[in-house]
Protein backbone atom coordinates (compact mmCIF):
# COMPACT_ATOMS: atom_id res chain seq x y z
CA UNK A 1 0.00 0.00 0.00
CA UNK A 2 2.80 2.37 0.95
CA UNK A 3 4.58 1.45 -2.24
CA UNK A 4 1.47 2.24 -4.30
CA UNK A 5 1.13 5.65 -2.63
CA UNK A 6 4.81 6.35 -3.21
CA UNK A 7 4.50 5.44 -6.88
CA UNK A 8 1.43 7.68 -7.27
CA UNK A 9 3.26 10.50 -5.49
CA UNK A 10 6.22 10.15 -7.79
CA UNK A 11 3.93 10.13 -10.81
CA UNK A 12 2.17 13.33 -9.78
CA UNK A 13 5.42 15.09 -8.80
CA UNK A 14 7.03 14.22 -12.11
CA UNK A 15 4.01 15.14 -14.22
CA UNK A 16 3.56 18.35 -12.20
CA UNK A 17 7.19 19.27 -12.78
CA UNK A 18 6.70 18.47 -16.47
CA UNK A 19 3.88 21.01 -16.67
CA UNK A 20 5.95 23.58 -14.74
CA UNK A 21 8.70 23.07 -17.28
CA UNK A 22 6.27 23.33 -20.22
CA UNK A 23 4.81 26.52 -18.77
CA UNK A 24 8.22 28.10 -18.32
CA UNK A 25 9.21 27.02 -21.83
CA UNK A 26 6.04 28.61 -23.17
CA UNK A 27 6.81 31.88 -21.37
CA UNK A 28 10.06 32.02 -23.33
CA UNK A 29 8.95 30.58 -26.65
CA UNK A 30 5.61 32.25 -27.33
CA UNK A 31 5.74 35.49 -29.19
CA UNK A 32 3.87 38.15 -27.30
CA UNK A 33 2.54 39.12 -23.89
CA UNK A 34 -0.93 37.68 -24.50
CA UNK A 35 0.27 34.26 -25.56
CA UNK A 36 2.69 34.12 -22.63
CA UNK A 37 -0.16 34.68 -20.19
CA UNK A 38 -1.60 31.35 -21.33
CA UNK A 39 1.68 29.59 -20.63
CA UNK A 40 1.57 30.99 -17.11
CA UNK A 41 -1.89 29.59 -16.65
CA UNK A 42 -0.61 26.08 -17.42
CA UNK A 43 1.72 26.45 -14.44
CA UNK A 44 -1.14 27.80 -12.35
CA UNK A 45 -3.47 24.91 -12.95
CA UNK A 46 -1.74 21.68 -13.96
CA UNK A 47 1.67 22.26 -12.42
CA UNK A 48 0.53 23.42 -9.01
CA UNK A 49 -2.45 21.06 -8.93
CA UNK A 50 -0.37 17.95 -9.54
CA UNK A 51 2.39 18.98 -7.13
CA UNK A 52 -0.13 19.55 -4.35
CA UNK A 53 -1.86 16.27 -5.18
CA UNK A 54 1.46 14.52 -4.59
CA UNK A 55 1.93 16.34 -1.28
CA UNK A 56 -1.55 15.35 -0.13
CA UNK A 57 -0.87 11.71 -0.97
CA UNK A 58 2.21 11.85 1.23
CA UNK A 59 0.60 13.51 4.25
CA UNK A 60 -2.38 11.16 4.30
CA UNK A 61 -5.52 12.30 6.08
CA UNK A 62 -4.37 14.86 8.63
CA UNK A 63 -4.49 18.51 9.52
CA UNK A 64 -1.83 19.20 6.91
CA UNK A 65 -4.12 17.84 4.20
CA UNK A 66 -6.77 20.36 5.19
CA UNK A 67 -4.18 23.13 5.03
CA UNK A 68 -3.03 21.91 1.64
CA UNK A 69 -6.62 21.95 0.38
CA UNK A 70 -6.99 25.50 1.68
CA UNK A 71 -3.81 26.55 -0.11
CA UNK A 72 -5.11 25.02 -3.35
CA UNK A 73 -8.39 26.86 -2.88
CA UNK A 74 -6.62 30.20 -2.37
CA UNK A 75 -4.39 29.63 -5.38
CA UNK A 76 -7.38 28.68 -7.55
CA UNK A 77 -9.00 32.00 -6.72
CA UNK A 78 -5.98 34.31 -6.70
CA UNK A 79 -4.26 32.87 -9.81
CA UNK A 80 -7.02 33.63 -12.31
CA UNK A 81 -7.74 36.94 -10.59
CA UNK A 82 -4.14 38.04 -11.04
CA UNK A 83 -4.09 36.84 -14.66
CA UNK A 84 -7.27 38.77 -15.32
CA UNK A 85 -5.92 41.90 -13.63
CA UNK A 86 -2.77 41.83 -15.79
CA UNK A 87 -4.73 41.11 -18.99
CA UNK A 88 -7.25 43.80 -18.21
CA UNK A 89 -4.54 46.36 -17.50
CA UNK A 90 -2.87 45.54 -20.81
CA UNK A 91 -6.18 45.76 -22.66
CA UNK A 92 -7.09 49.08 -21.06
CA UNK A 93 -3.75 50.60 -21.95
CA UNK A 94 -4.30 49.71 -25.60
CA UNK A 95 -2.17 46.60 -26.04
CA UNK A 96 -3.60 44.11 -28.53
CA UNK A 97 -2.40 40.58 -29.37
CA UNK A 98 -0.25 40.04 -32.43
CA UNK A 99 -1.75 38.17 -35.37
CA UNK A 100 -5.36 38.74 -34.40
CA UNK A 101 -7.69 36.91 -36.74
CA UNK A 102 -10.83 38.00 -34.94
CA UNK A 103 -11.20 41.13 -32.82
CA UNK A 104 -14.56 41.58 -31.16
CA UNK A 105 -13.28 44.45 -29.02
CA UNK A 106 -13.40 46.88 -31.95
CA UNK A 107 -17.12 46.36 -32.46
CA UNK A 108 -19.31 48.50 -30.32
CA UNK A 109 -20.35 46.80 -27.10
CA UNK A 110 -24.00 45.89 -27.21
CA UNK A 111 -24.56 47.49 -23.84
CA UNK A 112 -22.55 50.07 -22.01
CA UNK A 113 -20.06 49.07 -19.42
CA UNK A 114 -21.55 47.51 -16.35
CA UNK A 115 -21.87 49.78 -13.36
CA UNK A 116 -21.52 48.38 -9.85
CA UNK A 117 -24.83 47.17 -8.57
CA UNK A 118 -24.40 49.05 -5.31
CA UNK A 119 -24.39 52.38 -7.10
CA UNK A 120 -27.71 51.72 -8.80
CA UNK A 121 -29.98 51.57 -5.80
CA UNK A 122 -28.30 53.16 -2.78
CA UNK A 123 -31.54 53.95 -1.02
CA UNK A 124 -32.93 50.43 -0.81
CA UNK A 125 -29.69 48.72 0.14
CA UNK A 126 -30.02 47.26 3.60
CA UNK A 127 -26.79 47.20 5.55
CA UNK A 128 -27.51 45.24 8.71
CA UNK A 129 -25.62 47.31 11.22
CA UNK A 130 -26.26 50.71 9.67
Amino acid sequence: MDLLIDILTWASFISGSFFLFIGSLGMIRLRDFWARLHAASVIDSAGIGLLFLGMMLQTGLSLITVKTLLIIGFLLITGPTASHAVANAAFSSGSRPRDLVEDASSTKPTAKKRTPRRAKKPATKKNGNA
Binding site: W34, S41, S45, A46, I77, P80, H84, N88, L100
Partner: protein, 169 residues
Protein backbone atom coordinates in the same frame (compact mmCIF):
# COMPACT_ATOMS: atom_id res chain seq x y z
CA UNK B 1 -24.32 42.50 14.33
CA UNK B 2 -24.83 38.73 14.10
CA UNK B 3 -22.87 38.55 10.87
CA UNK B 4 -19.85 40.20 12.51
CA UNK B 5 -19.95 37.68 15.38
CA UNK B 6 -20.19 34.86 12.84
CA UNK B 7 -17.26 36.40 10.98
CA UNK B 8 -15.16 36.53 14.13
CA UNK B 9 -16.03 32.94 15.08
CA UNK B 10 -15.18 31.79 11.57
CA UNK B 11 -11.79 33.54 11.70
CA UNK B 12 -11.06 32.03 15.12
CA UNK B 13 -11.99 28.53 13.87
CA UNK B 14 -9.64 29.09 10.94
CA UNK B 15 -6.89 30.12 13.38
CA UNK B 16 -7.38 26.93 15.43
CA UNK B 17 -7.39 24.84 12.27
CA UNK B 18 -4.24 26.41 10.89
CA UNK B 19 -2.23 26.45 14.13
CA UNK B 20 -3.31 23.01 15.38
CA UNK B 21 -2.56 24.14 18.95
CA UNK B 22 -5.53 24.03 21.30
CA UNK B 23 -4.02 23.79 24.80
CA UNK B 24 -1.59 26.70 24.91
CA UNK B 25 -3.46 29.71 26.36
CA UNK B 26 -0.95 32.15 24.85
CA UNK B 27 -1.43 30.93 21.27
CA UNK B 28 -5.22 30.59 21.62
CA UNK B 29 -5.29 34.05 23.21
CA UNK B 30 -3.40 35.48 20.25
CA UNK B 31 -6.02 33.83 18.05
CA UNK B 32 -8.85 35.51 19.94
CA UNK B 33 -7.12 38.89 19.81
CA UNK B 34 -6.36 38.72 16.12
CA UNK B 35 -9.83 37.55 15.09
CA UNK B 36 -11.45 40.29 17.14
CA UNK B 37 -9.04 42.84 15.68
CA UNK B 38 -9.65 41.65 12.10
CA UNK B 39 -13.42 41.72 12.60
CA UNK B 40 -13.19 45.23 14.06
CA UNK B 41 -11.21 46.40 11.03
CA UNK B 42 -13.80 44.87 8.71
CA UNK B 43 -16.50 46.66 10.69
CA UNK B 44 -14.67 50.00 10.68
CA UNK B 45 -13.94 49.90 6.96
CA UNK B 46 -17.39 48.52 6.13
CA UNK B 47 -15.71 45.79 4.11
CA UNK B 48 -18.23 43.06 4.84
CA UNK B 49 -18.82 41.31 1.53
CA UNK B 50 -22.23 42.26 0.20
CA UNK B 51 -23.38 39.11 -1.52
CA UNK B 52 -26.86 39.98 -2.69
CA UNK B 53 -29.27 37.40 -1.33
CA UNK B 54 -26.87 35.30 0.75
CA UNK B 55 -24.95 32.35 -0.68
CA UNK B 56 -26.77 31.84 -3.95
CA UNK B 57 -24.89 28.82 -5.27
CA UNK B 58 -26.18 25.32 -4.77
CA UNK B 59 -23.38 23.56 -2.80
CA UNK B 60 -23.84 20.04 -4.25
CA UNK B 61 -24.08 21.38 -7.77
CA UNK B 62 -20.97 23.45 -7.02
CA UNK B 63 -18.97 20.35 -6.07
CA UNK B 64 -20.15 18.55 -9.21
CA UNK B 65 -19.23 21.60 -11.25
CA UNK B 66 -15.74 21.74 -9.71
CA UNK B 67 -15.08 18.11 -10.69
CA UNK B 68 -16.30 18.83 -14.22
CA UNK B 69 -14.08 21.93 -14.30
CA UNK B 70 -11.01 19.95 -13.21
CA UNK B 71 -11.52 17.60 -16.17
CA UNK B 72 -11.93 20.54 -18.54
CA UNK B 73 -8.78 22.18 -17.16
CA UNK B 74 -6.90 18.94 -17.71
CA UNK B 75 -7.97 18.77 -21.36
CA UNK B 76 -7.16 22.42 -21.95
CA UNK B 77 -3.76 22.00 -20.25
CA UNK B 78 -2.88 19.26 -22.69
CA UNK B 79 -4.06 21.35 -25.65
CA UNK B 80 -1.92 24.34 -24.60
CA UNK B 81 1.04 22.04 -23.92
CA UNK B 82 0.80 20.82 -27.50
CA UNK B 83 0.70 24.43 -28.72
CA UNK B 84 3.80 25.30 -26.70
CA UNK B 85 5.91 22.39 -27.90
CA UNK B 86 4.71 22.58 -31.51
CA UNK B 87 7.42 23.84 -33.88
CA UNK B 88 5.17 26.62 -35.17
CA UNK B 89 4.22 29.30 -32.64
CA UNK B 90 0.51 30.15 -32.73
CA UNK B 91 -0.42 32.86 -35.22
CA UNK B 92 -4.17 32.92 -34.90
CA UNK B 93 -5.09 34.67 -31.66
CA UNK B 94 -8.61 35.91 -31.12
CA UNK B 95 -10.55 38.33 -28.98
CA UNK B 96 -14.11 37.07 -28.82
CA UNK B 97 -17.24 37.98 -26.93
CA UNK B 98 -18.97 35.39 -24.82
CA UNK B 99 -22.50 35.89 -23.51
CA UNK B 100 -22.69 35.94 -19.71
CA UNK B 101 -26.27 35.21 -18.66
CA UNK B 102 -25.60 34.82 -14.93
CA UNK B 103 -27.89 36.81 -12.69
CA UNK B 104 -25.77 37.09 -9.56
CA UNK B 105 -22.39 38.68 -9.00
CA UNK B 106 -20.99 35.45 -7.60
CA UNK B 107 -22.19 33.58 -10.67
CA UNK B 108 -20.47 36.07 -12.96
CA UNK B 109 -17.33 35.80 -10.84
CA UNK B 110 -17.41 32.00 -11.10
CA UNK B 111 -17.84 32.10 -14.86
CA UNK B 112 -15.11 34.68 -15.48
CA UNK B 113 -12.69 32.85 -13.19
CA UNK B 114 -13.51 29.50 -14.82
CA UNK B 115 -12.71 30.98 -18.22
CA UNK B 116 -9.43 32.39 -16.98
CA UNK B 117 -8.26 29.28 -15.14
CA UNK B 118 -8.84 27.13 -18.20
CA UNK B 119 -5.58 27.44 -20.12
CA UNK B 120 -6.05 28.90 -23.59
CA UNK B 121 -8.69 31.42 -22.63
CA UNK B 122 -8.51 34.54 -20.43
CA UNK B 123 -11.39 36.85 -19.64
CA UNK B 124 -10.14 40.34 -20.39
CA UNK B 125 -13.03 42.74 -19.92
CA UNK B 126 -16.58 42.56 -18.64
CA UNK B 127 -19.58 44.22 -20.20
CA UNK B 128 -23.19 44.28 -19.12
CA UNK B 129 -24.19 40.92 -20.61
CA UNK B 130 -20.98 39.54 -22.05
CA UNK B 131 -17.28 39.00 -21.43
CA UNK B 132 -14.43 39.80 -23.77
CA UNK B 133 -12.27 36.67 -23.91
CA UNK B 134 -8.80 36.25 -25.34
CA UNK B 135 -8.23 32.87 -26.95
CA UNK B 136 -4.77 31.57 -27.78
CA UNK B 137 -5.84 29.32 -30.66
CA UNK B 138 -8.88 28.62 -32.78
CA UNK B 139 -9.63 25.46 -30.80
CA UNK B 140 -9.57 27.41 -27.52
CA UNK B 141 -12.02 29.90 -29.02
CA UNK B 142 -14.64 27.18 -29.26
CA UNK B 143 -17.80 29.20 -28.74
CA UNK B 144 -19.93 26.11 -28.08
CA UNK B 145 -17.67 24.96 -25.25
CA UNK B 146 -17.63 28.39 -23.60
CA UNK B 147 -21.40 28.70 -23.89
CA UNK B 148 -21.77 25.24 -22.34
CA UNK B 149 -19.58 26.34 -19.43
CA UNK B 150 -21.72 29.47 -19.01
CA UNK B 151 -24.85 27.32 -19.04
CA UNK B 152 -23.43 25.12 -16.28
CA UNK B 153 -22.62 28.16 -14.13
CA UNK B 154 -26.16 29.45 -14.69
CA UNK B 155 -27.48 26.11 -13.44
CA UNK B 156 -25.48 26.57 -10.22
CA UNK B 157 -27.42 29.68 -9.31
CA UNK B 158 -30.36 28.94 -7.09
CA UNK B 159 -33.31 31.30 -7.39
CA UNK B 160 -32.89 33.64 -4.44
CA UNK B 161 -35.22 36.38 -3.22
CA UNK B 162 -32.73 38.95 -4.47
CA UNK B 163 -32.83 37.50 -7.95
CA UNK B 164 -36.62 37.21 -7.97
CA UNK B 165 -37.06 40.83 -6.91
CA UNK B 166 -34.54 41.94 -9.49
CA UNK B 167 -36.50 40.21 -12.22
CA UNK B 168 -39.71 41.78 -10.97
CA UNK B 169 -38.21 45.27 -10.64
Amino acid sequence: MAKYIAHGVFLFALWLLMSGIYDNPLIVGFGVISSVLATWIVYRLDLFPTVDGAPSLNPWALIKYLFWLVVEIGKADWAVTKVIIAPETPKRQRLIKVAARQNTDIGRMMFANSITITPGTISVETYEKEFLVHALTGEAADMGGLEAMGKRVCDLETPTPARASKEAG
